[in-house]
């Protein structure tokens, strides 16, 4: 395959948006403001001052001469913003980005076209491409405020939560099964918090301080994910939420950063009185409680004993605080300040000598072992914690641009080594000002010019500073690709199905393990209840082999409305639900994993690289078959159109959120004359680079 340069695209890439033009505007009373023209809508004129503030005033308040100018002038920038304060805050970020570009002697990319913008915000905010109807609605909207309105609409739709869940699930290694337990309630808890709009500091605080059983309190899942491995858990907590590069200090003084092994253990000491090994000693098979249960089950068959162990484990997974802080230095501790086996007093780390004067440090007066964890969580999530707000702000920026201001996002010990320190500090301040409301923060970022520019088309080498002339060209994530496939197949019904495995699982599994006499009957009851819940929910079972092949052939799709409410629609053997509602992570051979979904063993480990099995799947797998079939919405709705030109255009809008060029229509038409069908064309568009990369 040879890449031939195409004149159409060359011209397209060359179009440049004019530099912003400021002029002096005068109102009827002679007051003047220097501003750019953002447009007229609903009888109001919108003018953006140099400080970024956007004035809205009735058109007739402008001087007669300026009213004439407003009638003819082309609006600058991004159109009319949703609110003046937001526009000002976004402009401040743009100023800092532009200062960084100027310093590096670089120019920003041109503003993205409406089509590019539309596809990008759908993918970035709700994690999927728009349907043809959604794309056309945006393209045909002539209002000047349509960009800001679309951002707001998408941020307030359920897809936003689903897409954010996928990001956090990768970051926090959320898996259905870990330590031989099932973590459905943990996922459901997080989804619930996102739906409620709980702020980031509260979410993290709840995870660190959660108490009780996993079945009753999903937030315990964060600590139980690493049950019995509190040092690993702490290391991840510090790198994930604080960008502290401490992993090495777990075993020895850090070779580059300032962290010492002692500091690591002092932090770990805050978790030293917290037990994650299990309610009633159930984590240890040799505890008296478990021995009693074993004794009670000794006459049962082996399979049942195994099942019973699983049910008991599910009931025993719990976090609770004790009165004994048992954290001691490791046997191989080799530094002079203490000896192996010494107890370690809890002490907060600092990044700067002055940090200890901060309120979050002053408030921490560690005394009672039971209170240690709470104090740690309060410090961790405090607005004045030196790295908490910065870390999440930097991560959220990376979600929008593809690169963090500081890379890697798990190491921001020295923010001054970031690409643009003033920008990083400002984003941190904004995160605090917005009280850790991630949606508000993203709204701000999506309203910047920097975000709404064309994707960078040149190769940017890892390790060289990227000054954000626009977002980088990103391959879609596995979840974005999958959710987009489902959108092509069923349209906006993609958002209709949500699973509630956690609730069902918890109520089915819940037994009283303190009574060995009744344990066998209770286990039987729980197993029965889980089976029933599994059937009703239509998931939890993997269809394999012949049965799966038969299912694929049947092409079943349920039209039963009630059925759709409880179980996801399937087509061609694929469960057509959002990635966030499928098993976490999906099975190895599923589209999601083949396309790079994280295995949830390592934090932030999803992949955006291609490989041969993945390409085989794109060319010959289930997804292309379902999307290209006459039952997929994209193909079906195109096939109802009268002539090939319209059909081609319909598929282009469905797949690429843009209309085809004349050359593209001609090429596709010629192919259709040569025997290529709409299914073939759907296959072709699905397999393009354009489909899997976000402009």
């Amino acid at each position: 395959m040879k890449a031939t340069a195409c004149l159409f695209f060359a011209l397209f890439a060359g179009s440049i948006v004019a530099e912003e033009v400021f002029r002096t505007w005068t109102d009827t009373q002679g007051r003047k403001v220097e501003a750019t023209f953002r447009g007229v809508e609903g009888g109001n004129v919108f003018l953006q001052a140099k400080n970024g503030y956007v004035y809205r005033l009735p058109l007739e308040r402008l001087s007669a001469e300026d009213q004439k100018v407003a009638a003819t002038l082309k609006p600058e920038g991004l159109g009319i913003p949703a609110d003046p304060n937001l526009a000002q805050a976004a402009a401040k970020i743009d100023m800092l980005v532009n200062a960084g570009l100027t310093k590096a002697n670089q120019k920003p990319n041109p503003l993205a076209s409406d089509e590019q913008f539309c596809r990008r915000v759908y993918l970035d905010i709700v994690g999927r491409i728009p349907t043809r109807e959604e794309a056309l609605a945006f393209m045909n909207d002539t209002s000047l405020s349509k960009r800001a309105k679309l951002v707001d609409k998408l941020l307030n739709s359920p897809g936003y939560n689903s897409h954010l869940f996928n990001y956090l699930a990768d970051m926090m290694r959320m898996a259905d099964v870990a330590n031989k337990g099932r973590f459905y309630t943990y996922q459901e808890w997080l989804k619930g918090e996102l739906n409620k709009g709980t702020t980031w500091d509260k979410i993290v605080y709840q995870m660190i301080t959660a108490d009780g059983r996993l079945l009753d309190n999903g937030a315990t899942g964060y600590l139980l994910r690493d049950a019995g491995m509190r040092l690993d858990n702490l290391s991840l907590t510090l790198s994930t939420f604080l960008g502290a590069n401490v992993a090495c200090a777990q075993c020895h003084d850090h070779p580059f950063a300032d962290w010492t092994q002692m500091q690591f253990y002092q932090m770990a000491s805050f978790m030293g009185a917290t037990d994650t090994i299990g309610y009633r000693n159930a984590g240890s098979q040799k505890s008296p409680e478990m021995m009693a249960i074993r004794q009670a089950l000794k006459d049962e068959d082996r399979k049942f004993q195994q099942q019973a162990r699983n049910v008991i484990r599910a009931n025993a997974m719990a976090v609770h605080d004790t009165s004994n802080n048992d954290l001691v230095l490791p046997d191989d501790y080799k530094y002079k300040d203490a000896k192996p086996g010494d107890k370690v007093q809890p002490k907060l780390v600092t990044w700067d000598k002055r940090d200890t004067y901060l309120r979050s440090y002053q408030d921490t007066k560690t005394k009672e072992p039971e209170a240690l964890r709470k104090e740690f969580a309060e410090w961790l999530t405090a607005p004045d914690n030196p790295r908490f707000a910065m870390t999440i702000a930097n991560r959220m920026w990376k979600r929008a641009f593809g690169v963090g201001v500081k890379e890697p996002v798990t190491d921001i010990d020295d923010p001054e080594t970031s690409v643009n320190p003033p920008l990083l500090h400002h984003l941190t301040a904004e995160m605090v000002r917005l009280k850790f409301d991630l949606k508000a923060f993203m709204r701000l970022v999506y309203n910047t010019q920097a975000y709404q520019r064309e994707a960078t088309s040149f190769e940017f080498e890892a390790g060289t500073p990227y000054n954000f002339p626009g977002p980088i060209l990103r391959r879609v994530t596995a979840e974005q690709a999958w959710d987009s496939c489902v959108t092509l197949a069923v349209g906006d019904k993609v958002d209709g199905f949500t699973n509630h495995r956690g609730e069902k699982y918890a109520s089915a599994m819940n037994i009283d393990i303190s009574n060995p006499e009744t344990i066998a009957d209770q286990v039987r009851g729980a197993l029965m209840a889980v089976r029933q819940a599994g059937t009703a929910a239509g998931n939890g079972k993997k269809v394999k082999g012949k049965k799966k092949a038969a299912m694929m052939r049947r092409m079943e799709e349920s039209d039963d409305e009630e059925g759709v409410a409880t179980r996801p629609p399937t087509l061609g053997g694929l469960v057509l639900a959002r990635a966030s509602e499928l098993p976490q992570p999906e099975r190895d051979q599923h589209f999601l994993r083949q396309f790079g979904q994280s295995d949830r063993q390592i934090a932030d480990s999803s992949s955006d690289e291609g490989n041969i099995p993945q390409v085989l799947m794109l060319m010959n797998g289930d997804a292309q078959r379902v999307i290209g079939s006459s039952q997929s919405l994209a193909v079906q709705s195109a096939s109802t159109l009268a002539n090939p030109e319209e059909q081609i255009e319909a598929l282009y809008v469905s797949f690429f959120t843009r209309k085809p060029s004349a050359e593209e229509v001609a090429a596709a038409k010629e192919a259709i004359t040569g025997g290529v069908t709409l299914s073939d064309l759907a296959w072709v568009l699905f397999n393009t680079r354009e489909f899997v990369f976000v402009e």
Partner: protein
């Protein structure tokens, strides 16, 4: 598409092997004698078995008696050393294997440990380092005309190409019994060709506008994939025509079947095969865990050594067993062992390596290195040396930074026969 460089190297390599020419780059820096230099390059293939999670050295390759002994007492082997109590079958292969008991590393974190043992370098935010299979392809060219030179089984490829082109990344087989899925088009060949032609045309504009490494590598993968699809060699990935009895012998689990697939791929001429075994992070109840994973390893590895030997492939195939770190000598309160990078063990067999040989030692309890400390860099350089790679040749990354196979480690010459 194979990159122009690797295509050229492939041709050179082919010429070298048919003309009987051997080029040895790797004798210069260490001043090896002619005799030891002859050991280089005997490993035409490598099967790299990686135990994910941190394999307990004391219960497998470096058994101890006394307070740190695990659930089972050490076992005698057919050579003059002992093995962990779970290694009942491997004990009969002591004469085929070498063990390094003095491995030492600085990281006790899974992700970074796994990264280092595959690449020899510490993980950085600024560069990706190649795994050994990609290094080998860089120096020796492709090992096969259509199939990839590296395959990884039971795991995602995770940037195995490092800073080399994405085409050098290992082909992942996530489930060895399923093999390479979706390998045949659903439509007739004629239709498939039409689709490909139209795809090339309609995507050309995007490809010329965005000439980024990501876009280019996807285009390469499409080209490679189309070539493999139309090749007879596809059968290499299909273990379904292996005898049932042999499948049973390897163990009906992902690791066992992965080892069987690896042997098959070696036969078909694929140079570097990684097989991962998950589940070695035994913090709790290690006795139960070993009954599962330990037995699985013992059976699969022993069968693999037998199978290679019977087919006359062991002399040219280096089998390596390793893990990101070992596990603590002290059994913790939950009946498990915690991470222990200070000392651990690896195993090598075949490919010019001695049998019945122990290199280095840990102390009495298995806490620290007692003799001949060996870094992961030494270990990887040894593998590189066995494959005939110029381990001292500096290669510049695209960002113009210098790198070598095994990051300047020193090959352990005593291991070679």
């Amino acid at each position: 598409m194979i990159s122009e460089l690797s295509r050229r190297r492939f041709v050179e390599n082919l010429a070298a092997s048919t003309l009987g020419v051997t080029v040895l780059h790797n004798t210069s820096r260490f001043g090896f004698s002619e005799e030891t230099a002859a050991a280089a390059g005997k490993a035409k293939n490598v099967i790299f078995l990686q135990m994910i999670g941190g394999m307990t050295h004391i219960d497998t390759l470096d058994p101890k008696e006394g307070p740190t002994q695990g659930p089972k007492a050490p076992l005698k082997t057919n050579a003059d050393f002992m093995l962990g109590g779970t290694m009942e079958n491997l004990a009969k292969h002591g004469d085929k294997i070498s063990i390094i008991r003095s491995m030492t590393s600085k990281t006790g974190v899974h992700a970074s440990g796994q990264y280092i043992i595959r690449t020899g370098y510490e993980q950085r935010g600024t560069i990706k380092h190649p795994a050994m299979g990609a290094w080998a392809e860089h120096f020796l060219g492709a090992s096969h005309k259509t199939l990839p030179s590296s395959v990884c089984v039971n795991r995602q490829p995770n940037n195995g190409n490092g800073f080399f082109p994405a085409a050098l990344s290992p082909l992942p087989i996530l489930d060895p019994e399923a093999g390479l899925q979706n390998a045949t088009p659903e439509v007739r060949q004629e239709t498939f060709s039409k689709r490909l032609a139209l795809l090339d045309k309609l995507d050309a504009g995007f490809r010329s506008r965005f000439q980024t490494a990501g876009v280019k590598s996807y285009t390469e993968f499409y080209e490679n994939t189309v070539r493999i699809m139309s090749s007879e060699d596809l059968k290499a990935f299909d273990i379904s025509d292996e005898p049932e009895a042999l499948k049973e012998k390897y163990g009906r689990n992902q690791f066992g079947q992965g080892c069987l697939l690896a042997r098959r791929l070696v036969e078909k001429g694929i140079r570097y095969i990684e097989v991962a075994s998950n589940g070695w992070d035994m913090h709790n109840n290690i006795d139960e865990e070993l009954e599962d994973k330990g037995v699985e390893l013992d059976i699969a590895l022993s069968t693999l050594l037998d199978d290679l030997k019977e087919r006359g492939l062991l002399a040219s195939t280096l089998v390596v067993l390793c893990s990101e770190f070992g596990r603590g000598p002290k059994v913790n309160q939950n009946g498990g062992r915690d991470h222990h990078p200070k000392v651990f063990s690896t195993l090598l067999a075949g490919g010019g390596v001695k049998g019945g040989f122990i290199y280095g030692a840990s102390d009495k309890g298995g806490f620290e290195v007692a003799d001949k400390g060996t870094t992961i860099q030494d270990f990887l350089s040894t593998i590189g040396f066995a494959m005939g790679l110029p381990v001292d040749e500096v290669v510049m990354s695209p960002s113009n930074r210098p790198f070598t196979v095994g990051d300047k480690g020193k090959p352990i010459m005593e291991l070679f026969a």
